[in-house]
């Protein structure tokens, strides 16, 4: 069964540095998402992306964050000037469509981001 893949599995970065988290969604999916899970807390929506633009973003997704689909397969999350509180597990997800029949969203295994 096709999977969403994320790299790296673990990223350690100095505070203030930029980090790019990479995702390869399922190939025939058109809608892409990033979620965040701070250790021991719930999974939180960050952003959804379709047709090369952001569909919706949460209040967490401020100017520090950006997303991009640089080619036909990758979907990236960039965090500029990282802060300690950005340390979390970041999950990428994709879905074939937005309609009811095209749910659920399929999730990758996540990238654990540790900010030092």
């Amino acid at each position: 069964e096709p999977e969403v893949t994320q790299t790296p599995s673990h990223q350690v970065t100095q505070m203030g540095q930029e980090v790019i988290l990479r995702c390869v969604p399922i190939s025939n999916h058109l809608y892409f998402y990033w979620y965040r899970q701070i250790l021991g807390q719930k999974v939180e929506f960050l952003v959804s992306f379709y047709n090369n633009e952001i569909s919706e973003k949460s209040e967490i997704f401020d100017d520090q964050f950006s997303v991009e689909r640089p080619d036909g397969s990758n979907f990236t999350l960039k965090i500029r000037s990282t802060k300690l509180e950005d340390s979390a597990m970041y999950f990428c997800a994709s879905s074939r469509g937005q309609g009811i029949g095209n749910q659920p969203q399929h999730f990758g295994d996540g990238t654990r981001l540790s900010i030092l």
Partner: protein
């Protein structure tokens, strides 16, 4: 706004016994409900969903969930628990607000199945 609540942080059950993981929801409009499971160091795996139709929904790994509109609940169940079912379980609802289709997750319930 859509939301789900999982009232139990942890559920303990003996192997072979039935298990229930509770979830209640609050939605405006039709509820589109999901259960996901998360194993250690893994992503979220889809278990089952309720969109419409039968109130008892069957999913992966022998799990099922019962949609109860009057009680606004969507409890996850399995007739006979396995040790390998031990994991973190998330109830979720689809939120169609603001033109997007994000998933809103509950806080999660950790299931421990003892041999």
């Amino acid at each position: 706004a859509q939301s789900v609540a999982q009232p139990e942080d942890q559920v303990n059950v003996a192997e072979g016994n039935p298990l229930t993981v509770k979830c209640t929801y609050s939605v405006s409009g039709n509820p589109y409900l999901f259960w996901y499971v998360q194993y250690p160091n893994r992503g979220l795996q889809f278990l089952l969903k309720y969109i419409t139709g039968d109130n008892l929904v069957k999913g992966s790994y022998g799990f099922e969930a019962e949609f109860n509109k009057s009680q606004t609940s969507f409890h996850l169940k399995k007739p006979s628990a396995l040790v390998s079912d031990s994991a973190l379980y998330f109830c979720a609802v689809r939120d169609e607000g603001n033109g997007g289709f994000k998933t809103i997750f509950g806080a999660g319930t950790r299931l421990f199945v003892k041999a």
